[in-house]
Amino acid sequence: MRNKMVLFEVVRTALTIAIALLLGYLILIFATDDPNTAFKWFIYGPISRLRRFVELLNRATPLIFTGLAVSIVFQAEIFNIGAEGQLFFGAVAATFAALYFPQIPFLHVIIVLIFAMAAGGLWAAVPAYMKAKWNASELVSSLMMNYVAFYLGLYIINYHMRDVNAGFLVSYKFPRTAWLPRLLRRYNLYPGIFIALGFAILVWFFLYRTKYGYELRMVGKNKEFARFSGIKVENVIIYSQIISGMVAGLAGAVEIMGLYKRFVWQMTPGYGFDGIIVALLARNNPLAVIPAAFLVAYMRTGALIMGRMTGIAPEIVMMLQAIIILLITAEAFLSFWKKRIIEKAAMEQEEKK
């Protein structure tokens, strides 16, 4: 029966993606005279060249971080949606550390990363503390913290670290010691993706192989039960959010250290909200975050490549993305079929007895 269920999930996922793509194709028919070409680039674009594949990897990197961050709090049933602010502020802190700390090779990178994590953790600590201490809605406070992070960050960057010669609103360029170096000469591959994968394993290990992870999951499954069993629920509420904030803090820092080598955002990059999607797609499992992040990144990359090759607005793909997300997570979609499999298997088992 297990096998059958796995098969079912695979078939179902494939079918939903096929349906979503079909819908996407229909939308494209409205948007362009040559939907076939556009469609081809969307599907095939990200794997058509190594350079584009690297683009895909780089795009998945921050999504893995934020997906992990959100998974951690969601596993504890805490609705902290502050990853966006945490990563933004983490990136600002990283910029600060990159620009003002002594340029010791290797060590500098570590310091910058630690700064980003600390800033993200600090940002998450505010809603955490308010929740644990006064039972204030973390949904509201973390959302507010996102806006504060954004405007405060912009203020710091634009008024104190802005590179006036750059022609754009960006910070000074980081010294080389604060870069995440290129790994391939001709391609813009930087170690971000590997750090992200490492963190996925680390987070998985934390959740399932440490006693703090156990505490966190039990609080998520039933807070009253956890308290009753002698778990300090308030502590868990605080540390789970701080750890999540630290992971989120990396998302921004790693990207700017690897891709831009300076702070470039005047809009919030949106990875925090993407992280919610990734986490929910992955059902909050840190290892499943990896494929989920890749799926989302694939759609984005495909869209951009399609846009570059055909001039179609990549926004179309946002609709497609939404449809794919909806159908994949629609539990009852094709459920009659699932029900039949289960019923048949259960009855067969009964008869054997």
Binding site: I27, F30, A31, V126, M130, K133, W134, N135, A136, S137, L139, V140, S141, L143, M144, M145, Y147, V148, Y151, L152, L154, Y155, N158, Y159, F273, I276, I277, L280, L281, A313, E315, I316, V317, M318, M319, Q321, A322, I323, I325, L326, T329, A330, E331, A332, F333, S335
Partner: protein
Amino acid sequence: MNELVHGILSPQFFYSILRVTTPILFAALAALLSDVAGSTNIGIEGMMLMSAFWGVMVSAWTGSAWIGLLAGVTSSVLLSLALAYFYLNLKTDLVLAGIAFNIFSSGATVFLLYLFTGDKGSSSSLKSYVLPKIDIPLIKDIPVVGDILSGHHVLTYIAFISVFVVQYFIYKTPLGLRLRAVGENPDAAQSVGISVKKIRYISMLLSGLMAGFGGAFLSMGYVSWFARDMTNGRGFIGLAAQALGGHSAFGSMWGSLLFGLAEAASYTLQAIRIPSEFTNMLPFIFTIIALAIYARSKLLQIKKIKEEEKKA
């Protein structure tokens, strides 16, 4: 400093509070109507956006702001029903579905805007119409009060009237009772033969209706065009305002006014040349502090009652 005091104490300032509160209040009421029946409508943002878009488009095509409003609200309601379908029939996670709908709306409006106008940023090339402002007889002649309360956009009045209607609806009508029953204990509602699904559909629909008004206000009152992602987080702010106010329409109103006050204040501060990054941040810091004080006082209140009784 003088300038600041002057800015804040002027009738215009209070007038602008009501103006900027309007879309937030609609969003908060939308949040409330879904929340009482036990479902969190994260998709308000997208519904508002959709309504703002169709309001502009249809008013431009038909030349009538009212038909535009109707179209906008209809689009928002349809979206809310679709969300309900995914949530209730296909059993999609409600939060995820809400986020997906927001993404969808953001993409769809830009795509359609481009399709219809050839512009991806805003609808400024179209001539669309706005809904009228209304002077209230008698009140408009009272000094100061008249300046603050009269001459608002028709939807601003509808928003504040809606507060009373919604409150009455939730707490006095049979349907409201059923909504609350489903929100508090769906099994209890089911046990007396109420269809939980149907009630949740209705609550989503009403939520979509409110969101639709909020969106229409943005593009047909607050400004007179559509711009991509013009809701700018107001749907979420509405959710936050409702969370502050609990299950009461008045609570939602006070929460919304708090945000409105902060937003209006930030515009006033900008006028005296404080960096906009700073002034934009203020409403949110303000809210965090308010939330902390509110939550803390609620906690202390409980403790205090306990202690007093111990003494007695």
